[in-house]
Point group: C2
Chain length 168, copies 2
């Protein structure tokens, strides 16, 4: 609980610094995000808050998410779907994702070896990196044991397409 208050204070600090205000709506949203969700989607927040009878419009959610991203407390990521996902940023929390194309589950990992190698590559290309985004798509252990065959690399994207149409 006090963790959440700390996050709210942190956000308030950012807002004040920008001459902005910490409103009830913004507070509710930060509370919702930092209480339970690790990865989430904008729509999901809208739904969860409506469930709790907290009134907040879609526009405000998007506006506040933008502020949270600007403040560095939240990150916007792609997880292989056709819309954004967001995730909380906590200290030293940088990580990448393994995304199961069968069940959709997400495994996080961090590897300083990978990070270091990426820095080397950037140096060689005279590129100044600021952020990166790595998803590895495949089949998780549970799904493989249930008999999912690993698909050939060229065909994963087909699955992605199929999953997209399944969502309807």
């Amino acid at each position: 609980m006090q963790t959440i208050d700390r996050e709210i204070t942190r956000f308030q600090g950012f807002l004040e610094q920008q001459g902005l205000k910490l409103t009830t709506e913004r507070k509710s949203l930060v509370r919702e995000i930092f209480a339970t969700h690790y990865h989430f989607e904008a729509d999901e927040l809208l739904f969860k808050l409506k469930e709790k009878s907290i009134k907040i419009s879609r526009a405000t959610i998007y506006r506040t998410l933008e502020l949270l991203v600007k403040s560095g407390m939240v990150r916007r990521v792609h997880l292989g779907e056709d819309h954004y996902h967001y995730e909380r940023v906590t200290k030293n929390s940088h990580h990448d994702h393994l995304v199961c194309t069968t069940c959709g589950s997400v495994i996080e990992f961090h590897d300083s070896f990978l990070e270091a190698r990426q820095r080397e590559i950037c140096e060689r290309k005279k590129f100044t990196p600021t952020f990166h985004n790595l998803q590895i798509l495949g089949i998780c252990d549970a799904c493989r044991q249930k008999g999912q065959l690993p698909d050939s690399p060229d065909r994963v994207q087909m699955i992605q397409l199929d999953r997209n149409s399944l969502r309807k």
Copy 2:
């Protein structure tokens, strides 16, 4: 030129195998893609073809792109924007991307060291990888020399947001 014909033949092979037909529209699209574009967006193709007075509908473009992805000749990637990008797949062409958040330019690279390390990580997590997607966002050499300051890691996403609004 003959390279393009080879690609068309390749696509035709895939289509026949699936009991599908190589139509005029599909041929035009493959020609457009393999003639000039390396990374491209669906809308861009629509525009370019209209410019050349080649009539082809949006639906057909998306349908054909789906087939090209299924055939393994084209790959669908995220480059840090809110819609898909596509890229041609040529033999052994797997690579990742450095994306400049200032000018939007894309540098490709391939590093077998990174690839190997990723395989190790997957093994450790009992994850069967099939495909991955890595973008490193930052500032390219040209932009840095023009005086662009490298932004602090936490702020890149803000730039992404700003670029999105610029598109209007």
